[in-house]
């Protein structure tokens, strides 16, 4: 047995050691602190930085004034605070390793451009509390010394760990920005060279003419000093022409150079228009071929532009007389804009505390591995594959060998204005509505993104939300959009812009987001269809057939299905699911009858009998639709249900439901709830809903009953006169609705007309208007008529009518004495609890032996008993808690066997309970 820590030794020092320091003991500067700052406050590690949040800094090593900061992103002086950007620029520019030789190499008559690879450095200033990822790059400028202008782009943060842990992602993002900037610079440089060449050629012709005139005017065998000077000038101009042509050739051959950087990215080009230009004259014929030749084509076009050449005077500007070009001038405008956009996007995506960034990405990665149950409570993952490839993996700082690196999915760099009809040399016409529009669209998008930011920083920002939260106002925020959406939007805008520069070459290794997203969508849809087809084909005619089929071909099914699923879905053995479903039929049918007789609970599992769930007929909604209104969203619940309910008693026709086609109101307080209008409910909205949910739990001691109703599939009607209040409550309670659908299809936030039984199948949570009119009385009638199927939460009277719940499973998320202070914290707590419930439902659903007979003699009753026993003994659940698991399991089974087409939610099971409802009051 190993002993416990030596307490005496610890206390000894505090009593004696520190009071009587040993004169021979080590000075503190050579030792380490016993109690570092991080121990006293783990949140204060970065507090001594002089800036408030991370920012991007672009600096230049100016040949005139030395290192100088140029701009910051975000461009807000408050961000940098008192941080000395000049000093930091000096620091970061002095570590550049780029030894870009420019000049006349031995044996060469012309200056040679050196295409150096970017270098990446991480360094810190521990005293200032500033750390930076620095990306060094070189731009070309005809007027600069040696034609080069060294720049760097730095991501500055107070957290060194944040930079190192995300090094590869930062490197990737900045490489993209750098390549974009350099591509634009090469274009601008080539443009400048061409103009200079035109000037030189013009000057040459003028000088030649002058010289000819002088020659003719003067004696044949004598040259005047003026003539000699002219001849020298002419020779210089000729030399200069050759040099400039050579420089143009060099810059045109940029793509032919060997890349030394194994992690280099390339600007990508998604249009082929640039390559289709004809009748171009390459300034070089050195066989640059390929990409170089394409660029030359551009140059050919450029040379025929409408530029008016000017005479160049022999006197050159002194070094300090000239004004150096700004960064914007050094780069073609669209490229510059695109670079800035990439950097802004980078700043946004890395915003926030590392801890939350890390967890968010881990969360996403783990959720991707459990797509089967995600629909229950998780926000939609969408097709943000870039996060998986581009964000998480670099963040984890693992597996970044070269192959993987190329898999990373950078934001698309589809750049530039379209110059097919226009002269590509000319800047986009500011009066041209097309270019104007595209730019405006992009800038508007940027603005919108800025406002609608739902970046990781939200999580940290929310820690400062107390005052906002305590007010309890819950306003709809339809503005939040995901990263992928932003990129998609940007990409779509950009993709309308054609390729201005042939050096933006397509790279087969780098798929675009769009390609990725569309392909993954395709895959999902395909998977869905496959599954749907299978499910459809195998829909049993009778329950007995199901059993016999299953018994006969269970193994075959396993193999075949796992084969079909391949990579599209998690390869899970469907046998258990199907078997379970089969036995659910087997068990439920007689049970249903008996339960009807016995007035006991019955979990309907007949959803598979329903021909088609109404929502599945609806057109696919855009995954990233933001702010779409209910009128555009059939999922909002205004469509007539056309299916048959499994419940024979409540069998309805389409006509029965017709009275609810006008049911949704256009109340003024619509903005109070994001639900029910077909918009994607964002994480931010869910967190805000968490605040209202926390208040609900604290305020209503019977909250646990309400949550149980929702989680066990019993429709909850929130009744109230104040629309805003009802909507807020519905938005909060919607957190607990299993499988609410991507756009909250299972939730009707506000209904101002009576509902029908069909609606109860479609909606699991309904906000119902209380009105004192004939309509109101009919609504009350519908409430009482269907009271056996629903629970009613009266927001005005503060009462709840529902069956009693005596379980323990939900005690932890519905404790009105909880000390959780903030809605966002409560939301996290609810998320973990629901995650656990989903896991248990998964376990229950896919545990084979529970749902299959052990022997042929074993009847369905035995299997059913085993299932019940599992719930009660293995999982320790009581009757009511078991109902939750059974309901969730049904949804999982249904989702798995018949995944709904497109984005519509899984058809909920319609369950009802004859247990007497109880009226709870505060």
């Amino acid at each position: 047995m190993i002993g416990s820590p030596d307490v005496v030794a610890f206390t000894k020092e505090d009593e004696f050691g520190q009071n009587n320091p040993d004169p021979w003991s080590i000075p503190e500067e050579f030792s380490i602190p016993l109690h570092p700052l991080a121990d006293s406050n783990p949140w204060a590690k970065t507090s001594y930085a002089k800036f408030t949040k991370d920012f991007i800094l672009i600096s230049e090593f100016s040949e005139q004034v030395g290192p100088q900061p140029l701009l910051t992103i975000p461009d807000d002086p408050k961000v940098c605070g008192t941080f000395d950007l000049n000093y930091f620029s000096l620091r970061i520019m002095s570590v550049d390793y780029q030894a870009s030789f420019v000049g006349h190499p031995p044996g060469s008559g012309y200056p040679r451009l050196s295409f150096v690879e970017d270098s990446r450095v991480v360094l810190g200033d521990s005293k200032e509390g500033a750390f930076a990822y620095i990306h060094h790059l070189t731009l070309y400028d005809l007027e600069a010394r040696g034609f080069v202008r060294p720049f760097c782009m730095a991501y500055v943060s107070a957290d060194e760990r944040k930079i190192m842990l995300q090094f590869q992602e930062l490197s990737l993002r900045f490489s993209q920005a750098s390549e974009c900037l350099k591509a634009g610079n090469r274009r601008a440089f080539a443009k400048e060279l061409q103009r200079k060449l035109q000037d030189l050629e013009y000057t040459h012709s003028v000088l030649q003419r002058e010289e000819g005139l002088q020659r003719e005017a003067g004696p044949q065998c004598m040259y005047s000093a003026h003539a000699v000077e002219k001849a020298n000038e002419l020779a210089n101009v000729e030399k200069s022409i050759y040099e400039h042509r050579d420089l143009l050739r060099q810059i045109s051959c940029y793509h032919c150079r060997p890349r030394r950087d194994p992690h280099a990215v390339t600007c990508q080009n998604y249009t082929d228009k640039g390559r289709k230009r004809e009748d171009v004259q390459s300034p070089t014929d050195d066989g640059g071929g390929g990409k170089g030749a394409e660029e030359d084509e551009d140059e050919g076009i450029k040379r025929r532009s409408s530029y008016t050449p000017q005479l160049i005077k022999a006197r050159s500007a002194k070094c300090f007389d000239k004004r150096l070009k700004t960064l914007q001038e050094l780069c073609d405008e669209p490229f510059y804009e695109a670079t800035m956009e990439l950097l802004k996007e980078t700043e946004r995506s890395f915003r926030g505390d590392l801890c939350y960034l890390h967890t968010r990405r881990m969360d996403k990665a783990l959720r991707r591995r459990q797509r089967i149950t995600n629909f229950l409570f998780e926000e939609d993952l969408g097709d943000e594959d870039e996060d998986e490839g581009g964000m998480l993996r670099p963040f984890c700082a693992v597996n970044h060998d070269l192959d993987n690196y190329t898999i990373l999915n950078p934001p698309p760099i589809v750049l530039g204005p379209e110059p097919v009809e226009l002269d590509p040399l000319e800047p986009p016409d500011p009066l041209d509505p097309a270019s104007e529009t595209s730019h405006t669209q992009e800038s508007e998008l940027v603005l919108e993104e800025g406002n609608l930011d739902s970046s990781p920083s939200d999580q940290t920002l929310e820690t400062q939300e107390s005052s906002e939260e305590t007010k309890g106002s819950f306003s709809s925020d339809k503005s939040g959009t995901g990263l992928a959406e932003k990129q998609q939007s940007l990409a779509s805008v950009r993709s309308e812009l054609p390729d201005p520069d042939s050096d933006l070459t397509p790279d087969a290794d780098h798929n675009t987001d769009l390609e990725r997203e569309s392909s993954s969508e395709d895959m999902d849809i395909t998977a869905g269809e496959d599954e749907g087809d299978n499910g459809g084909d195998q829909t049993p005619v009778s329950l007995l057939e199901v059993v016999s089929e299953l018994e006969a071909s269970m193994e075959d099914d396993c193999e075949r299905r796992s084969g079909i699923e391949s990579d599209l879905l998690v390869p899970i053995d469907t046998a258990c699911c199907m078997a379970q479903e089969g036995f659910l039929y087997e068990a439920s049918a007689p049970e249903a009858a008996s339960h009807l007789d016995q007035s006991s609970h019955h979990q309907s599992s007949q959803t598979l009998v329903v021909n088609q769930e109404p929502q599945s007929l609806l057109p696919l909604q855009n995954d990233y639709a933001v702010g779409s209104l209910c009128s555009e969203s059939p999922a909002a619940g205004l469509e007539l249900p056309v299916g048959l309910l499994g419940d024979a008693v409540s069998r309805t026709t389409a006509e029965d439901g017709s009275d609810c086609t006008m049911s949704a109101s256009t109340g003024s307080d619509r903005a109070a709830s994001p639900l029910g209008y077909g918009g994607v409910v964002t994480l931010r909205q869910r967190k805000r809903a968490g605040h209202v949910a926390l208040r609900f739990v604290r305020q209503y001691p019977f909250a646990i009953q309400a949550l149980w109703c929702l989680l066990s599939g019993r429709t909850l009607v929130v009744l109230g006169a104040d629309e805003g209040r009802v909507r807020r409550l519905v938005a909060a309670l919607a957190l607990f609705v299993p499988g609410p659908g991507k756009c909250g299809e299972r939730v009707q936030a506000w209904l101002s007309c009576p509902f029908t039984l069909t609606d109860l199948k479609r909606w699991k949570l309904i906000g119902l208007q209380r009105v004192a009119s004939p309509v109101g009385s009919s609504m009350l009638y519908s409430l009482s008529r269907y009271s056996r199927y629903i629970s009613i939460l009266d927001a005005d009277q503060k009462t709840l009518r529902c069956p009693p719940y005596r379980g323990q499973l939900l005690a932890n998320i519905a404790d009105h004495r909880t000390y959780i202070r903030r809605g966002s914290t409560y939301f996290l707590h609810v998320q973990s609890t629901l995650c656990r419930l989903a896991a248990k439902a998964f376990l229950f659903t896919f545990t084979h032996h529970l749902h299959l007979p052990v022997s042929s003699t074993e009847g369905p009753e035995v299997v059913e008993g085993r299932r019940r026993c599992f719930l009660q003994e293995q999982l320790g659940l009581g009757e009511e808690d078991s109902q939750i698991l059974l309901y969730l399991s049904q949804l999982v089974t249904q989702q798995y066997l018949q995944p709904p087409a497109g984005n519509s939610a899984v058809a909920p099971c319609f369950s009802f309970n004859y247990t007497t409802s109880v009226l709870y009051k505060i």
């Binding site: 190993i2 002993g3 416990s4 820590p5 307490v7 610890f10 004696f16 003991s25 080590i26 500067e29 050579f30 030792s31 380490i32 016993l34 109690h35 991080a38 121990d39 006293s40 783990p42 949140w43 590690k45 002095s94 570590v95 390793y97 270098s119 450095v121 360094l123 200033d125 842990l165 194994p262 992690h263 280099a264 967890t359 783990l366 959720r367 591995r369 089967i372 700082a397 693992v398 597996n399 970044h400 070269l402 820690t463 899970i572 053995d573 258990c576 932890n812 000390y819 202070r821 903030r822 996290l828 998320q831 973990s832 995650c835 896991a839 376990l843 896919f846 545990t847 084979h848 293995q874």
Partner: protein
């Protein structure tokens, strides 16, 4: 010295280090800023044998000199060690430099200890960066003392440079893959208890999670050891897996500080000697798992571990400070004690706290049919739950303390509110949270000199 001749350049000493296996390190260098000559390289360490890429001494010197670029502006506090990280595509290398101040020939100089790797090893190196840097930082602390005394720092630096070369070489051949096939783990067994005893597996995983995913697995059978190593790695993030090492079949690696999970083979006598100092210097407490006798022991929780670690580091540095002769560098195997501090050598204790989280997971996961993705999915759900619980706990404490501005006094409420009343569960979630927010244990559990038992007594009275 008035001859007008430029001062003679100090020669660059070079030593070649024999490393078993393929060492991805190209060279390590020690350079300093000479007040007359500018940046100078003093010493080069290079692995012996074939390398992935050849760098001449001139190139190494060029690179090493440049690590001191811009350091003339350095204004760090005395004793601070700053890290610079270069990826130089032009040269095809990555350089990790630790910049510090030290006394050379009576002058205060800026020095740089650097390691150089090929750029192609970036992905391999990045997960190991923190481990290398932390170990180098500590040897620099020792080196600064040595410099202060006027002794040759190279001998001290070699104490860590060589092990780091060995570590990188061993990781090159035996690191755990990022994507672990569940079929190579215990979780693929048909039934619980097939590979190892049910309770042993539960204890091992539980303790592994309680010690922040840091474990050593020892045993005589390399296959058995590696199976447990892979099983434990299933509960780690991909980055942490890349910082884990399988055991070698023929002979054991030495223990390496900083790895998350490492498999170690017992010798022919059936024993494995763990170096006390290295285990104590691990960033997290460690779980010790013996697969031969199915025992699981664990070190004290994070805050105690960190306290013990710092005490020992201080003791070690103090001993070095008091050393009288350059020849008397105390070896790492010596346990440092002095009149004020006696380290407790029994750092591994029985796992005291049971949990429900891992217990139910282990019980339940074997109910799912093996050979499909069911168990992987269930594992992902379990990990998601733990990550979320950790984040919730962190946020709860953040709210309660206004981001650490106020002391945390409501542990009991936290346990009740977040369903962490079982000690083992709390330990696991706290360990996850500690990795997200370093120093959380010390902050929550108050003064670090409390032991676990005392702390609980105190906190329960709040």
């Amino acid at each position: 010295m008035s001859s007008g001749c430029p001062p003679q350049s100090p020669a660059v000493a070079k030593c070649e280090v024999a490393v078993e296996g393929e060492c991805p390190l190209l060279a390590a260098t020690f350079a300093y800023w000479d007040n007359i000559l500018g940046p100078r390289v003093r010493h080069i360490w290079a692995p012996k044998g074939d390398q992935l890429m050849f760098l001449s001494d001139g190139e190494v010197t060029f690179l090493a000199n440049h690590t001191l670029n811009g350091e003339i502006l350095r204004s760090a506090e005395c004793g601070a060690v700053d890290v610079k990280f270069f990826v130089l595509a032009e040269k095809g290398v990555i350089i990790v430099s630790l910049i510090f101040d030290g006394e050379l020939k009576g002058d205060k100089n800026t020095c740089a200890l650097s390691i150089i790797l090929p750029q192609t090893e970036l992905a391999f190196y990045l997960p190991l960066h923190t481990i290398c840097v932390e170990r180098l930082k500590h040897v620099i602390r020792k080196g600064r003392i040595w410099m202060q005394k006027g002794y040759n720092i190279i001998s001290v630096l070699s104490l860590e440079i060589v092990p780091i070369m060995e570590l990188l070489a061993s990781m090159k051949s035996h690191s755990v893959s990022e994507d672990i096939d569940i079929r190579d783990t215990v979780l693929h067994d048909d039934d619980i208890g097939d590979s190892c005893h049910e309770d042993f597996l539960h204890k091992a995983v539980s303790s592994h999670l309680q010690t922040c995913g840091c474990s050593i697995v020892v045993g005589s059978n390399p296959e058995k050891v590696n199976k447990i190593v892979r099983t434990l790695c299933l509960f780690l993030t991909p980055a942490e897996r890349k910082c884990s090492r399988l055991c070698r079949a023929d002979s054991s690696f030495t223990y390496d500080t900083g790895l998350f999970v490492q498999g170690l083979l017992k010798d022919s006598t059936g024993s494995f000697v763990l170096p006390f100092r290295q285990v104590l210097y691990s960033p997290y407490p460690t779980t010790h798992i013996d697969v031969d006798i199915n025992t699981v022991k664990q070190m004290p929780p994070c805050h105690e571990h960190m306290y013990n670690q710092r005490r020992y580091m201080r003791s070690e540095l103090n001993t070095l400070w008091k050393t009288d002769s350059e020849e008397d560098i105390p070896p790492d195997t010596v346990i440092h004690t002095d009149e004020t501090f006696t380290p407790d050598l029994n750092i591994f204790q029985d796992v005291m706290h049971n949990d429900t989280l891992v217990k139910s997971f282990i019980d339940e996961v074997f109910m799912l049919k093996p050979g499909l993705s069911l168990r992987s999915t269930y594992l992902a759900q379990f990990l998601l739950l733990l990550h979320r619980k950790a984040l919730t706990l962190l946020k709860y404490i953040e709210d309660e303390t206004q981001k650490g501005k106020k002391p945390f006094r409501s542990l009991r409420s936290l346990k009740t509110d977040l369903d962490l009343t079982v000690e083992g569960d709390l330990n696991i979630v706290m360990a996850f949270a500690e990795k997200l927010r370093a120093g959380l244990h010390s902050f929550v559990f108050g003064k670090p000199f409390y032991t676990s038992m005392q702390e609980r007594d105190v906190l329960m009275t709040l």
